[in-house]
């Protein structure tokens, strides 16, 4: 833990200008992630900018979708009737995350920005290309049971830890990002990056930018969606493999599908190929199994995490069966 200064921003403009002056500062909302990282000496910001006074907690119907302010708490979103009726997949993904105490604190903007749980990233005594570019990846030949099998590189196999980001990815959510010149909108599918040779670059958020909200576009079969999370214990644990799915069926056939995987990718893992394989196919277990095969295409195990590949397939099949029931 490093000494740091603390300031409260009373407007988005102040928040952004503070960040301009102090580029190594970090925003803090719920603090459930940044404080852990600071205690572990992984993050050493000289300044924390508290953005809790900015409001940004609205959850409302807007033309074309449901808009969620970046500072809305996980628990508020999970409980919101609009979310529960239009996108059960979001509510379930949130409720299957963390613990009630954490969900009451954590903001949705912070959730989609949370850092990996890879133990090498979090232990400064070990090598990690994400934390310290060029130092090597401890996980590839080490303790990698929880790490990714999709989107990995020779430089990093760290799993993206968020559950709800997987749901957002399945739903084509759009991030609203404030910057000194205004706001821009980034589809979540273009937001996260795979590690490649630069695992320290995780997403499209620039220095001094702030996520202010998330727009989830309406989906006519959004109500037929769910999130299924396989994990070692019943609660308060990260995914071994998870799936956010939505399914549109008509006359026993699949008319539309959304499939994204969690716990197995270096970013929330949308599989449009699996969706395409389903559309037009009969809504049966056999079809779901074929789609699941497609969803994990290209997956690579690193020893301890080999099991995630067959497990992820089973999760996809079960999730699709759940929304077909």
């Amino acid at each position: 833990m490093n000494p740091f200064a603390f300031t409260r921003a009373d407007s988005i403009a102040t928040a952004l200008s503070t960040m301009q002056r102090s580029p190594n500062a970090r925003f803090i909302a719920g603090g459930t992630n940044i404080l852990d990282l600071m205690k572990d000496d992984v993050e050493r910001p000289p300044l924390l900018v508290d953005i809790n006074a900015l409001g940004l907690r609205t959850i409302e119907q807007r033309p074309g979708g449901i808009y969620i302010g970046a500072l809305a708490r996980m628990s508020d979103i999970a409980a919101h009737p609009l979310v529960r009726s239009a996108f059960p997949v979001i509510a379930v993904a949130l409720e299957e995350s963390a613990s009630p105490q954490l969900r009451n604190m954590a903001s949705i903007g912070g959730n989609v920005m949370q850092r990996t749980r890879c133990p090498y990233f979090r232990d400064t005594a070990t090598p990690c290309n994400k934390r310290q570019p060029g130092s090597g990846c401890g996980a590839i030949a080490g303790v990698n049971r929880m790490q990714a099998v999709l989107g990995t590189s020779d430089h990093c196999i760290a799993t993206h830890a968020s559950d709800v980001a997987v749901a957002f990815t399945a739903l084509d959510a759009v991030l609203h990002i404030a910057h000194p010149g205004g706001t821009r909108e980034v589809p979540i599918g273009e937001f996260y990056s795979e590690p490649g040779r630069t695992p320290q670059i995780e997403n499209a958020l620039g220095r001094g930018e702030l996520i202010v909200g998330i727009m989830v576009p309406m989906l006519n079969f959004g109500a037929q969606s769910t999130y299924l999370k396989a994990r070692d214990r019943a609660q308060y644990e990260f995914a071994l493999a998870s799936a956010a799915v939505a399914l549109d069926r008509h006359g026993g056939m699949v008319r539309g599908a959304r499939i994204a995987l969690g716990g197995v990718g270096t970013r929330p893992w949308r599989s449009r190929a699996a969706e395409a394989a389903l559309v037009g196919a009969p809504a049966t277990r056999e079809s779901y199994q074929r789609a699941a095969e497609v969803a994990v295409r290209g997956a690579r195990g690193y020893g301890q995490n080999d099991f995630k590949i067959p497990l992820a397939k089973r999760v996809v099949v079960r999730a699709l069966e759940m929304v077909s029931a």
Partner: protein, 692 residues
């Protein structure tokens, strides 16, 4: 309602849940400084240099202690059972998170920051982390509960000619205790006298070891152990941070509080060693056991020898005429393993009771019937009669309550709501131990009583239960008896471990109360103004102890549901009946039994310390990554204490209940998983990859 056995609520319960109970870390002394250990980041090698320049000038930092400036103390063991201490006396590194420096500052936060600023350069050597390749170590001495030479003919060749055989390797991982309250010590010198506040299971043991390390007389040390927030064996000895706090207090001339952080709980304060157990058994067609082999090896550290006495479980349970056992140690670059709740019998019970289940399937006999077939009326190893044994009643009561007779034997034959249902059972067994204990009891003219023993309260209910025992003898309300504990100025108590505390302190309490009662009778019921004080020394009579076999038993029945696709295992029911002698308090006893069942489920399905085998670094040293069950993972365990008036075992009539419900319970879960899935998992914890 008799006083003893009554479900008396904890006298300290309100204080504990409202913050009124003061644990070591809650105590503040005037002028107190805070110390934080700098742990090694390598597992094997040596410290080449330590750059503490930034740390020394950081705000609030008073002292940085390293092997270059630490005062010289006596690191050597005072007895073979002692753990080697790491007190900054040299540059050697023998395990991950070994103390290599200590930063003392005015506040805890300043000390934490100072510790982050200390830069240590190491010469790293390849650590031995492979159990197969580790150097074989020989225990310097076999302690009381370690396997002695057995007295039966060897298992071979009877095993080879047996009608049915099982023969397999069972593995259990390294596990860290992680009590809710981490370790912590406050050291304060007054001239040459040292006062220690310590989160320990044995204030007197801390005093002895510290006197040895600091080369001072034990009488110059007072150890105060107030409430202890769990220990489970990890606080049975004074680990390195205790003398380090005393050294820092002496160097700074101020009281020093040293708290061990959660990640450091995976460092120098002990753990259950990983075990690899070869277990074989042979039986005749009717299930009668003819031979057993139990060969165990467990990891130990480079400088200490700790035996996880797994084979004690097989040695002392079933009527087996031919028996061979062996325990071996392998040295790895790890910290010293130590006692963890039900050492030996929990890990050994997993192997033996899993193998008994396998044998039952091999023979086509019900698993419970197989146990009953091999019921031993005497200790099978030494032929001694038991003080008492109610295991048969345990089997019957637990099986009836569970509904075991409704079980269909074939794997995957029971299903519910699309889930695979598995029912498994196992036997519990654990030797009873007792240590010498003193006690002092005083009755005042108003009829109030103070009972004093320098034991500790780690959640087992000491201040609630011992007054019940004394009150029953005196024929008064337990509310009239106040218990004083947690101080070496009080009468000497033994180590609060090994399920021996109630036997030891309970016996001293009964003897003291009986003498007080007799004195009171002599005085015609009149208490003189100064009160009546009785001091007793309840010594264990070795000859008397050896007359009978003393053992607690039990029967576990577990139900699991396994998702046929996702393969998630959920324990849906757990019923256990335990043969523990006299129950002193139904509430606190129930809590202990339930706690042990939870530990058993945790061992079966969740706990494992994960090392990077290349470096020896522990990679899950947090409670987010080192899994223990949540409430959602645990059914409401149904525990039955089978009452027994055991007059032979000790004056308190107890056979120990803190651990027995953990012995074999992991096997009950593993056997249920087999019954549900048809997959026999011989390595703990059982996670999804084993079932895929």
């Amino acid at each position: 309602m008799p006083i003893v056995g009554a479900a008396r609520s904890r006298v300290d319960g309100r204080d504990k849940v409202t913050g009124g109970a003061k644990y070591t870390c809650d105590r503040e002394l005037p002028g107190m400084l805070h110390a934080v250990v700098v742990p090694s980041t390598i597992a094997y090698g040596r410290v080449l240099s330590i750059d503490d320049r930034d740390a020394r000038v950081a705000t609030g930092v008073v002292l940085v202690m390293t092997h270059a400036n630490a005062p010289r103390v006596n690191e050597n063991k005072s007895s073979p059972q002692d753990a080697k201490l790491f007190l900054l006396q040299n540059d050697a590194v023998e395990f991950d998170r070994q103390p290599v420096a200590l930063v003392v500052a005015r506040t805890f936060e300043q000390a934490v920051h100072g510790a982050d600023l200390v830069r240590v350069v190491y010469e790293t050597r390849a650590p031995q982390m492979d159990l197969d390749a580790g150097e074989v170590a020989t225990p310097a001495q076999t302690a009381g509960n370690q396997p002695a030479a057995h007295r039966r003919p060897a298992a071979q060749p009877a095993l080879a000619s047996a009608h049915a055989q099982v023969d397999a390797i069972y593995r259990t991982p390294t596990e860290h205790h992680n009590p809710m309250e981490t370790h912590g010590t406050i050291a304060a010198w007054d001239g040459d006298r040292l006062t220690l506040y310590d989160s320990t299971q044995w204030a007197f043991g801390v005093r002895t070891r510290l006197a040895h390390v600091l080369s001072i007389d034990p009488s110059a040390i007072r150890v105060i152990a107030p409430f202890v927030g769990g220990a489970f064996g990890s606080k049975g000895t004074a680990w390195s941070h205790v003398p380090l706090a005393a050294m820092a207090a002496r160097a700074t001339g101020k009281p020093v509080k040293l708290l061990v952080t959660r990640p450091q709980m995976f460092g120098w304060v002990g753990h259950r060693p990983q075990t690899e157990q070869h277990f074989a058994a042979g039986a005749s067609a009717d299930g009668t056991l003819v031979a057993m082999i139990h060969e165990v090896r467990n990891e130990t550290s480079l400088s200490d020898e700790f035996v996880e006495p797994c084979a004690v479980f097989s040695r002392d349970l079933y009527a087996v005429p031919h028996y061979t056992m062996h325990q071996e140690l392998r040295r790895l670059a790890i910290s010293k393993p130590t006692y963890q709740r039900a050492p030996g019998e929990s890990t050994g019970g997993f192997a033996v009771e899993s193998a008994m289940d396998e044998l039952a399937y091999e023979l086509g006999i019900d698993p419970l019937a197989l146990r009953l077939r091999n019921y031993s009326e005497v200790n099978p190893d030494n032929g001694k009669e038991y003080t008492s044994k109610k295991l048969r009643e345990c089997y019957t009561q637990a099986a009836d309550r569970f509904g075991w007779s409704k079980r269909t034997a074939p794997p995957r034959s029971m299903q519910r709501n699309g889930m695979l249902v598995g029912w498994g059972m196992a036997t519990a067994s654990r030797g009873t131990h007792r240590g010498d204990s003193d006690a002092r009891i005083t009755m005042y003219p108003d009829g109030s009583v103070v009972l004093a023993v320098g034991t500790i309260e780690q959640g087992t209910g000491s201040p609630t239960v011992y007054p019940q025992l004394a009150a029953a003898v005196l024929g008064i309300s337990p509310d009239r008896v106040r218990f004083e504990w947690g101080d070496t100025n009080l009468p000497t108590a033994p180590l609060a471990a090994g399920s021996q505390t109630a036997a030891s302190i309970g016996s001293a309490t009964v003897l003291a109360a009986e003498q007080l009662r007799d004195r009171l009778v002599l005085l015609g019921g009149n208490v003189p103004p100064e009160g009546i004080t009785i001091e007793v020394n309840a010594k264990v009579d070795e000859a008397e102890e050896g007359r009978y076999a003393q053992q607690a038993f039990g029967a576990h029945f577990a139900a699991v549901e396994v998702d046929p696709d996702l393969l998630h295992i959920r324990v849906t029911r757990f019923v256990g009946a335990y043969d523990v002698g006299r129950v002193l308090n139904a509430k606190t006893a129930g809590s202990q039994l339930v706690g042990a069942v939870v530990w058993g489920i945790s061992m079966a399905l969740y706990e494992q310390t994960r090392f990077d085998r290349r470096t020896g670094r522990i990679m899950n040293a947090t409670l987010a990554d080192y899994l223990v069950p949540t409430n959602a993972d645990i059914p409401n365990p149904e525990v039955i204490a089978v009452e027994d008036d055991d007059q032979r075992v000790n004056p308190a009539g107890v056979r120990g209940m803190g651990e027995v419900a953990m012995c074999g319970s992991a096997a009950a879960v593993a056997n249920a998983v087999y019954h549900a899935t048809g997959i026999r998992v011989r390595e703990l914890p059982i996670t999804v990859e084993a079932l895929l």
